[in-house]
Each structure stands twice: as structure tokens, then as C-alpha cells.
Symmetry: C2
Subunit: 345 residues, 2 copies
Amino acid sequence: MKLTILFGGASFEHEISIVSAISLKEKLSGFDLNFIFCDQDHTFYAIDQKDMKAKTFSSASHKKMPIVNLTNGGFTQKKLIGSKEHTGIVLNLIHGADGEDGTIAALLDFYSIKYIGPRINASVFSYDKRYTKYLCDSIGVKSVKYEVLNSSEQKDITIPYPIIIKPASLGSSIGVSIVNEESELDYALDTAYEFDKNLIIEPFIENVKEYNLAGYMADGEIQFSIVEEPQKNKFLDFEKKYMDFSRSSQVLKADISSDLENKLKQSFTKIYTGMFEGALIRCDFFVVNDEVYLNEINPIPGSMANYLFEDFKTAIEKLSNSLPHSKRAKVNYEYIHSINSAKGK
Amino acid sequence: MKLTILFGGASFEHEISIVSAISLKEKLSGFDLNFIFCDQDHTFYAIDQKDMKAKTFSSASHKKMPIVNLTNGGFTQKKLIGSKEHTGIVLNLIHGADGEDGTIAALLDFYSIKYIGPRINASVFSYDKRYTKYLCDSIGVKSVKYEVLNSSEQKDITIPYPIIIKPASLGSSIGVSIVNEESELDYALDTAYEFDKNLIIEPFIENVKEYNLAGYMADGEIQFSIVEEPQKNKFLDFEKKYMDFSRSSQVLKADISSDLENKLKQSFTKIYTGMFEGALIRCDFFVVNDEVYLNEINPIPGSMANYLFEDFKTAIEKLSNSLPHSKRAKVNYEYIHSINSAKGK
């Protein structure tokens, strides 16, 4: 099948998007792949498959490659005579800002380009961890209790140590710290505020059981990946996560009861349904006393969580065939006509 | 001051956006105004001021006008030789889909165009009435109790008659019905489902007190309009609202206690702060037993609620000088460099 992988973006996760894209080049070999890179200035470049290596971007060689522009139905590359169209389904692989905050979703929707990835609403509810909490509360999915800090107001943290501090709107552990005592607090806050003016404070639960589950909607049903118990080293720091984004070998299924597996799938279903259609997402859960808590939604997981699927290519194909299509309102100027005719015009 | 008014959109409210734009041409006379029209196919046209009348659009004459394209920093019009740039602040006046659902916000953000209007998050929380309820619950603002119906599942309504049925994501009373008894239900549901697959059901409160309040953030403070008690005729139907969008004469201040006025302002402040910066919004409240309930947020109110402001031009100028600027992440390829150097590359 034909697929355009869109990656890069003006995001703190720009580099891991490149790593993700390179790993999908391998995982989706045999597909007719196109690569479009969004640089930090929001210029789009068509990247040849042979140039899909990290150095192309870190050395700025991509700037010599053809610029493409968003046009109705696809990306267009101007030629000396005429133009070349890059049409077909896009896989939005821009992690973090641009890709996961709703911006790319809106652009692709506006230009009627079909895509794999979260729509605007789904992006907003997963990108900002505060809004993920709102969503959980509203649909009856448990999440860890939390407090919000904002750089513009002074407020005390009432959750007892140890706590975990996260910028409200970033993934990949960027700016995240575990704080064991007050003396470590200021540094952790400064670090997090570098990335976002809103922070989420949660209790840090040592040795909590963590399980990741990915899935997507196709043929009217959610198609689940296996459940993984991720390795952890307190929590994955950015460099580890960065390497993590190039994972490609399939992982082992977590050794859990079918009862727990069902609970995880039920929570996933509540989160996904009516919100994430069109996306392949990974939900990261905590389990405490047999109760499932949502930790995080990754609406564009690193390398699309390919390692959680037994047959990743088929997953992408099935999802591509089940993408939502947005209905555009028809305009017929009925009211203007009726008012003008009432006025005798 | 220089201002580009962006209107139209592929929306059921396309026509009222045209009416809104025409009324602002009058209200903002003296400003250096440009008009850009987004047609239902998502093509942008530069419209000359003299052509800013309803007939231009209903007769499709706009198709003879110059096409402009989104480019970094503004809209660009190709000329035979070179191009003409429409730069400067945009006022997003596209009501409903495109304008209020976050799409236009994302486009303007992506292309670094400063604009008056709700950002992506604010759009999502105000466009879909379900999410407005989530927001209210989370920030401690009361809203009317509700149920959600979805076209894909059969569910009984438990709220007793009379009820009001609304498509979850439309403004301007489109698709809204009051249902007094079961015999009227099916028709009302069919009507509403024509516009959205999710519906909001609320109790219909006869003769409830309604108050509208508009405002915007400038110089670090919310600048409030006067409070209006809107006229009503059960509820405004679309045709009345349509005419309402061309309102321009200033209304009378509602005759309410300063205590109630403060309560309305407090609720407005909770809703606005940290979410709607950059927008001039109108909140429509219900008051029952002296308690304030949010009914609806209009993040792009008809003709920008000019009639609620004593000095509307100054309001637009002040808001223009206080627009949020989005910080774009810098990319330095630090991780790729460090990994390549670890690999000896």
C-alpha cells in the first residue's frame, strides 16, 4: 500500500520523530512509502528514502531537497513545468507539539487529506495532561490524583513526597522529575517550567505495576495489541526513551490474568471510543490493588508501538481502510436568498 | 489600525459569518480593513471592501476575486509578476465549523499569523457542548444537568419533559428543538441528528433568567462588556439569530444587583483564564435561585458582540495589543549529534 510518513515538527520531540520515521522505514518495507519532513520553521520537504537517516537532518542537508506545500488533497511540489502531487494517506508521525497538539490534524483535515493520527479533539485531550484528567473524570476511567501548578501563580503542593513533576503538555519524559524531598523541589520546578507554564504534580508510586496497551479501531471494533509490562529504571529518562523510539523487535506479552487484561481493555475502550478513531494509540496504565489507572495516552506512540503488534503491517493496512471521513457542511445561501427576496432584491 | 477579517468557512453558519463580517465593516469603519473569504471548498479569496455585501457570495461573484494562499506570516496573492502579501493581525470571524472547532486557529498558529480568536484548546472546549460540561465540572462552574445521545447507540432519555435537544457541536440554534412530550421526540431527534451524531439533552427551564456577558483579556486583566438580558421568544430560532448577527446598536445594561453582576463576572473569569486568551468571547448564563449556570460559550460571538461594548473599536485595539504569542520549540539536534559521536560518526 501507499503511505506518506509525515515527521519532524517544531517540537521538543523533533529528533525522536526522525528516529521514529527511520524505524518505520524498516518496519513497513514493502509498502510504497513517501517521506515528508516538517522542519522547525514549518517548511515541508519531500525526502527521498535513501536520505532517510538522522544525519540528513542534523547536517541540514534536507534543505537541499524539494519543498512541498499543502494543497487540497495532498502535498504539492512545484516543478519547473507543472507540479508533482503527493496524494494518498498520510501517517502523522510528528511527536509532541504540532503533531500531537491538534495542529497537524487541523491542517490535514482542512486540506482534505486522509490520515492516520488523532483528530483535533483527541489531540487536545491527550496532549495536555490536565485535559486527560478531565476526560478520565467524565468517562469514568480512574487516573492518579494530581495538582496543577502554573508559573503565574504561587501555590503550595499538598501531595506528600515523593512526587513526580511533569510539564502538562509534553511526552517522552522531557522535563519530568521525581522529587523525594523539599530541597530538590526548586530545581525540578525550574526544569519543568522550561517546557510548559503548567505543571502536573502527582504522587510518585514506587514499584507501581505498569502496563502498556496499544490499539486502533477498524471494521467497527477495537483491535488490541498485546499487553506489555515495560522495563523501568525508576522512570525512563529522555535518552532511554529516545532509544526506545527506535524499538522494532516484538516484545513479550505481560504475564497477567485474563481478568486484568480485560480491565485494561475496558479502560482503553472507554478512552478510545468516540474520540481517537483514525489513530493507533498506546495507553500506559498503572495497576494498584487490582485497580486500573490511566497514566498517559500516547496518540502517536514512538515508532507507532510497532513492537506491540504481531503483524504491524496488517494493522496499518486495516487502520488505513477504516479512517473517519469528515463531513463538510454544504452551503446554499438559503437565508441570504430569502432575506434578499423579502427585501425585494 | 490594520485588521484582516477572515470569514465564511465550510460551516452551517457560513451565511451568518458573512452577515457578521458585513456588520463589522460598519462598526470598524476608520480601521484599515482587509477581508478574506474562505469558501466552502476551503479556497481563500481577497474581497474588496466595496464588494462586501451578501449578494457577492450568494451569486458566487467572489469566485472572480483574487485567490490568496496561507504562507508563513500571512495570506499571499500571486500576481503576474511577484506577489502581494496580506500580513498583520487577523480577526477570525468564521462561526461554527472551521472557525470555532480549532481548525482555523491551528492554521493561523502554524503559519505564525497573529489573530483574534480562540486558540485550539479553547475551541475544542467551547465548540462541543459535551466538552464545555467537562470544563465546567473541572473548574467549578455550574452548568445545567445533561445527558448525551449518540446516533450509534439506542439510549433512553431520563430527564423529564419539557426538554431541549441540541446538536453537541453547533451554535446559532441550528438543529435545536424544545420537546414538550414524547410524541414530538422523534422529529426533534431526527432534526438534531442531521447536524451532529452527538446530541445534548437538557431540561428546558421555562422563563429562566438569561444574562449574556462578553469580555477579553488585555493588559493582564479581563475587560468586561455590559451585562445584557437578551430578549427571548421561547428561544431564538435560527432566522432570529441570523438577524441578530447583524446587530449593531448598543443594548441596555440589564437591571441586576451588583452582587449578581459580580457572580457572573466571577464565572466568566474562571472560564476565560488560562484558556481563551486572545479571544473576545460571550458567555450566556442562566440564573436560577440566584445561582449562576453557564449555558454556552461563544468564542466568536455574532458580529463580535459589538453591541455589548461601549467603545467597541477601542476593545478590538486593546485586544490586538495583548494577543498571546506561541513559543516555538528550538531544534538543535543535540541527541542525534551525541548518539552519532558515541557511534564514532
